[in-house]
């Protein structure tokens, strides 16, 4: 299927090239983010009536996992407010070209950390405490503030967006799943880049900043690390950068052989299943264990959580592919074939999120009018009653997402297996079994 270049449409191109639309969105996002921190810290401790919980964990999460990631890849990263204060400090400017001499340390990120293992760890840290984090406004406020300050701190020590690229707990999986999105930023003509002097897209120029994500657009073949910040569109002197509409999961045709990304796929797949069991399942004992952080029950829960993600799921997967004859060593076969888990994991998250988002979406309406639970009624909706939405379509939609995910991942498995000349059957069986488990957990 052919690609459609969206940047050919003058309106889109101008909107992306100009800094003002993005800046306007940035300011709104930053104000909302800081407001969420404040609401978490001083608002009602009742999560379902606090802006921080309702807007971050219900509204934002719904938009992220149901819309932004599947359709826009790293679209959220393009408007995320977390790196902004640090980045503005780092550049010494909001719009103007940066100071010639960097104000801060501007160090290179250490080589041994140039992978997404830190992001895997930061995601798991939040995931293990998620029952408390997702329901306790002041913990959410503290975590949001901590991420903002971590991003500022890293911006003063390291060059570019070190937080986004290497530490952000959600950035890792957004990157992984953005490979499936039908949107990409790519160069139009490789020869233009080869001949281009100074590479302003990477090094910056008077028209904009060098890639904040430490990516050279000329070498882009996957969405994983492109944050869609649009700087290269502004800096490219040859108008060689395009935003394309493309078929879904185009990036998965060339499977990655990186272990950090392979394990990210297992982390996301496993945690979607564990969440479905803990948060939506009928087992009170599991919920208690997950909620009572620090107790023995919680340590057992955490141990099982990590075991499922790092031992049980990858273990069965490895056993499955052990016998398949491939040209590559097992480690690389493992990483390549794990690519099939990317669409499956994404659809697991979509199916899981549908249920709690539709159940709790009506809290958004009430929290909009009374964001801190102080008895305000800004828009007259403060007394909106809690009511699950679209309950009749929930189960069919979840089934559709899971079955669709299974077919999608089976196709991906076939392509990945073809690429490395191995059999795709064990991977498809693995996907089939995990989908059955997920169906059982959700329905």
């Amino acid at each position: 299927m052919a690609k459609i270049e969206l940047t050919r449409i003058p309106f889109i191109k101008n909107a992306l090239k100009s800094r003002y639309p993005q800046l306007a969105v940035f300011i709104v996002m930053l104000v909302g983010y800081i407001f969420a921190i404040l609401a978490g810290l001083i608002g009602t401790p009742v999560g379902s009536h606090n802006f921080s919980i309702v807007f971050v964990w219900i509204a934002w999460w719904a938009i992220l996992i149901l819309v932004a990631v599947p359709f826009f890849g790293r679209g959220w990263c393009a408007v995320c407010p977390i790196p902004l204060p640090g980045e503005w400090l780092q550049r010494g400017a909001v719009l103007s070209p940066p100071d010639k001499k960097p104000k801060w340390l501007n160090l290179r990120w250490p080589k041994f950390l140039r992978n997404i293992w830190l992001q895997n760890i930061s995601f798991l840290l939040l995931a293990l405490f998620s029952s408390v984090l997702l329901t306790t406004p002041n913990i959410t406020g503290i975590v949001l503030a901590a991420m903002l300050f971590a991003a500022i701190g890293l911006s003063t020590i390291f060059e570019r967006r070190a937080f986004c690229r290497y530490l952000c707990p959600v950035g890792g999986f957004i990157g992984l799943y953005s490979q499936t999105a039908p949107i990409e930023l790519r160069i139009k003509d490789k020869q233009v880049c080869v001949k281009c002097e100074g590479k302003p897209c990477y090094n910056g120029s008077a028209n904009g900043y060098g890639c904040p994500w430490d990516v050279f657009p000329g070498g882009l073949s996957k969405n994983t690390h492109c944050g869609l910040c649009m700087e290269c569109i502004r800096t490219c002197p040859h108008d060689n950068i395009a935003i394309n509409l493309r078929p879904f999961s185009a990036d998965l045709a060339k499977p990655s052989t990186r272990m950090d990304e392979a394990f990210k796929a297992f982390i996301m797949l496993g945690s979607a299943m564990i969440y479905a069991g803990v948060l939506l399942g009928p087992w009170g004992i599991l919920k208690d264990a997950a909620y009572n952080v620090g107790t023995n029950a919680w340590f057992i829960y955490a141990f099982i959580f990590l075991a499922i993600i790092f031992v049980i799921l990858p273990g069965f997967f490895t056993l499955g592919i052990l016998k398949t004859k491939g040209t590559l060593p097992l480690k690389q076969r493992f990483a390549s074939l794990a690519t099939a888990l990317i669409p499956l994991g994404l659809m697991f998250w979509v199916a899981f999120s549908l249920s709690f988002v539709l159940t709790n979406a009506s809290y958004i309406i009430a929290a909009l009018s009374d964001p801190l639970g102080l008895g305000w009624n800004l828009f007259g909706t403060a007394n909106a009653v809690w009511q699950p939405m679209l309950t009749s379509v929930l189960a069919p939609a979840q089934t559709l997402a899971l079955v669709g995910g299974l077919i999608w991942s089976a196709r991906t498995a076939q392509k990945a297996a073809n690429e490395i000349k191995a059999s795709s059957t064990p991977v498809i069986v693995f996907c089939f079994i995990t989908t059955l488990v997920m169906l059982w957990l959700l329905l």
């Binding site: 930053l30 909302g32 102080l374 305000w376």
Partner: protein, 325 residues
């Protein structure tokens, strides 16, 4: 600096000030009374100042579960306080003094501890004379055992008792009823020709004649709202919190100099005739007024009016006696 850069910086700083300042401002200008289960602090604040005959506007919110609010000794329905929601209430006090407010929803094991005071200032128009409660003037020891040595073999019936009472030499005044336990009256009837069962029936009739249907109905309602959580809907000491009160017993131990160690314990069973038939209305009034001093039984003196307490006591005896319907 270019104008666009300057303008953006101003906008960003203004936005940050708005995001921080607006919630802080509204938060500090909206004082709320927070309700939390007692383990987490109960009412905050738990002392409220007011002026006599001035409307007192109160705004409540709950930080955890559903609570309720009512002020003792006042004719008012309790209002519910819902988690994350704000309940508005306006009160007017026509007499100065210290009022007790309390939680009206069974919010948790320590629900009975959820109390606070409203201090209503102003000069009293005319000081009212205060008489000590009956258990004080009778010099009753509220903590002494008071078991009835004899109990009836079946439930005494006021209907049967009514037929027997006419010619008996017995004081039927309210004062006499309040000062004596059912067993004491049963004992005083021993010089008559009645059988034991008949004597108990007479006692039942005397108890019924000292109350009314309205009082019993009022007592039942008060009981259901305030007592049944621990003492049980049917008075058997098996309310929803009963088991937990006992298991929380030792850890709740409080020690006071000069007194026995006290801890939360199983609520009293009002269907137990040995205890109930040995207790006079005055003794029960004392126990309700003063409370169980650390046992989990709260003091109700600051909450119920005297009339409410007598109604409640009349209802408590109905667990022992069979009354006219």
């Amino acid at each position: 600096m270019k104008r666009s850069e300057l303008l953006s910086r101003i906008l960003i700083i203004a936005g940050v000030f708005l995001a921080v300042g607006a919630p802080l401002f509204f938060w500090s200008s909206t004082p709320l009374i927070h309700a939390q289960v007692s383990e987490n602090g109960g009412w905050n604040p738990d002392v409220i100042q007011a002026d006599v005959n001035e409307p007192l506007h109160l705004r409540f919110t709950s930080d955890d579960v559903v609570h309720g609010f009512a002020v003792g000794q006042m004719e008012m329905e309790g209002v519910d306080i819902l988690p994350g929601k704000v309940t508005d209430l306006t009160l007017i006090f026509d007499k100065p003094g210290i009022y007790t407010f309390f939680c009206t929803r069974w919010c948790g094991l320590n629900h009975w501890r959820m109390r606070g005071t409203i201090e209503v200032g102003g000069s009293p128009s005319d000081p009212e004379p205060v008489s000590p409660p009956l258990y004080v003037s009778l010099d009753l020891n509220l903590d002494a055992p008071h078991d009835a040595p004899v109990i009836p073999s079946s439930q005494p019936s006021a209907i049967s008792g009514q037929k027997l009472v006419t010619n008996l030499p017995i004081d039927r005044s309210t004062d006499y009823y309040r000062a004596n336990s059912p067993y004491q009256i049963f004992d005083q009837l021993s010089n008559t020709s009645l059988t034991e069962t008949q004597r108990w029936d007479v006692v039942a009739y005397l108890w019924q004649s000292n109350t009314t249907k309205e009082s019993l109905a009022n007592g039942q309602q008060l009981y259901a709202q305030n007592c049944a959580a621990c003492h049980g809907e049917n008075g058997a000491g098996d309310g929803v919190f009963a088991d937990n009160l006992q298991s929380a017993g030792e850890s709740s131990m409080q020690t006071m100099t000069g007194a026995d160690n006290m801890m939360m314990q199983t609520p009293i069973d009002f269907t137990n005739p040995t205890r109930m038939l040995g207790a006079s209305p005055a003794l029960l009034q004392g126990k309700i007024l003063r409370g169980g001093m650390g046992t989990g039984m709260p003091m109700w003196g600051s909450i119920f009016t005297e009339e409410q307490i007598w109604d409640l006591i009349a209802y408590l005896y109905s667990f022992q006696f069979e009354y006219h319907k």
